[in-house]
Amino acid sequence: MARMKFLCDADRCIECNACVTACKNEHDVPWGINRRRVVTLNDGKPGERSISMACMHCTDAPCAAVCPVNCFYTTADAVVLHSKDLCIGCGYCFYACPFGAPQYPRVGNFGSRGKMDKCTYCAGGPEADMSEAEYVKYGRNRLAEGKLPLCAEMCSTKALLAGDGDIIAQIYKERVVKRGYGSGAWGWKTAYRETVAI
């Protein structure tokens, strides 16, 4: 089995937000929820960099650890998923997540946030693969269809890579060697406690 990861090559990301749009469209993500987003650091200054960020599907995920109802589970592909039937919308995973991945449909109504929503790595949820119930709650299950997450597939500059961690790390390393520079795999140290040596 693969160990699925995301890798955003910040030297290629042009902040076109196609990944954000692709994600929202593919999964019918409701208004106000962004499973993926692009953050620009040092905006407008020399050395500005944009990074596309969603759930990183961490090793030993903090969200899963702090969940008071243990609604998270990790698939055989190391994708971190959760059950919206068990989620009570307490918000703890949002406090614990280093990447701001968990999203809630409601805010500020006496803390009744509704069921948490986050990037599923296009792998759905606990329901039967590609079922209607799964689509309504979690969106499309592209992994079950044999496809990779749409955000990475659609990336116009191929900045965002998705797939087995070793393979995408190898692609990134080759790029760095070829072009001579690279600002590293953003978030990897935090998410996977390892980074891509460049």
Binding site: V69, I88, Y95, Y181
Partner: protein, 346 residues
């Protein structure tokens, strides 16, 4: 086909080589040109000035940028503080809570089994009653108390529910219970806050330090020496209970409101801190309240009546709150009448 492509590539490579050879001539005008490790045609590292994740994390401790979606808080790219939050919630907090709550239960059990209940002395019950808490005071007490018990159980559920209850009833039933527990926790917080505020108004006058407190504290309330240090309406122990409820309750309210309205009063790190404070004060207050419930019910004969019917036996009152009884009797010329009502709002 393949040969044609190879010919094309060869010409292309030759052309590139020519450009590279002529490059030093133009590069003379620029600054030092470092040869790039991997054959970048410009010869420069275009990322030399770019921000580095490790450096930003070291200097700022989190990565904050700009974002083009309306959700401004999503501009926080990375917050490693989430790991500390996890360490607290899953590592430190269960220990604090376990030691505080179990420790208090064990201490009370030890006291109960060695010293037993604090009984009235034989023949001490006079049969005459004196009003200790009026209806408003009892209502405030029970309003706050019932809310607190529900808040405590549902609060502890956040910590120990998945460890203790979930294995017994299964994940589905536990999630359903926790969902309702969360609603109860969020909504009963409001009558609890109201109760704490009324308590403060109603009882603060009798809970200011007075001349009896030091002696009471020195003899530890007489719990171990079987003596009864003097006290006015509330002894020093009761005052400590009062102030821990009022101050602890206010801290719980403030931090709770911060969490009830996400991002209204604090950012993400602020809400993490709100939960650190909320949880620690919460479990300590639970431990204190267990002691309070013990001494007000099975721990001491005659004590429960004060909050039950509101009237206590005059002899009990004289033994435990002599100064208060004398004060009450002085107010009414004809002594310790059962029907005598103390001045309101005491």
């Amino acid at each position: 086909m393949r040969i044609a492509r190879q010919v094309f590539y060869t010409f292309f490579a030759l052309a590139l080589g020519l450009i590279v050879l002529s490059a030093p001539a133009t590069a003379q005008h620029g600054q030092d040109v470092k040869p790039a490790a991997g054959g970048n045609p410009s010869g420069t590292n275009p990322t030399a000035m770019s921000v580095k994740e490790e450096q930003l994390l070291r200097e700022l401790n989190k990565l904050q940028g700009r974002i083009s979606i309306p959700d401004g808080k999503a501009a926080l790219l990375e917050q490693p503080q989430g790991r500390e939050y996890r360490g607290f919630r899953e590592g430190v907090l269960p220990w604090i809570a376990g030691v505080a709550i179990l420790g208090m239960l064990l201490a009370l059990a030890a006291f109960y089994f060695t010293k037993g209940r604090i009984m009235l002395e034989p023949g001490e019950e006079s049969g005459r009653k004196i009003l200790r808490f009026n209806a408003v005071e009892r209502f405030t007490h029970w309003l706050t108390a019932t809310c607190f018990i529900v808040l405590a159980i549902t609060g502890v559920n956040y910590i120990f529910g998945k460890r203790l209850l979930m294995p017994l009833i299964g994940p589905d039933a536990f999630a359903a219970w926790s969902q309702w527990a969360k609603y109860a926790h969020n909504f009963l917080a409001w009558p609890f806050m109201l109760g704490v505020l009324i308590m403060l108004v109603v009882w603060v006058k009798d809970n200011l330090p007075d001349r009896y407190d030091w002696d009471w504290l020195k003899s530890a309330g007489g719990f171990f020496s079987n003596t009864h240090p003097d006290s006015a309406r509330f002894n020093a122990g009761q005052k400590l209970i009062f102030w821990s409820v009022v101050l602890g309750g206010m801290a719980l309210s403030a931090t709770g409101i911060v969490m009830l309205f996400p991002f209204s009063f604090a950012d993400l790190n602020g809400m993490q801190w709100a939960q650190y404070i909320h949880a620690v004060i919460g479990v300590i207050l639970i431990a204190i309240m267990i002691a309070h419930i013990y001494i007000g019910s099975i721990g001491m004969e005659g004590a429960y009546d004060a909050m039950g019917s509101g009237e206590v036996d005059l002899a009990w009152a004289r033994r435990h709150h002599r100064a208060w009884v004398e004060e009450q009797q002085a107010k009414t010329a004809s002594g310790p009448q059962a029907t005598a009502r103390p001045a309101p709002a005491e």
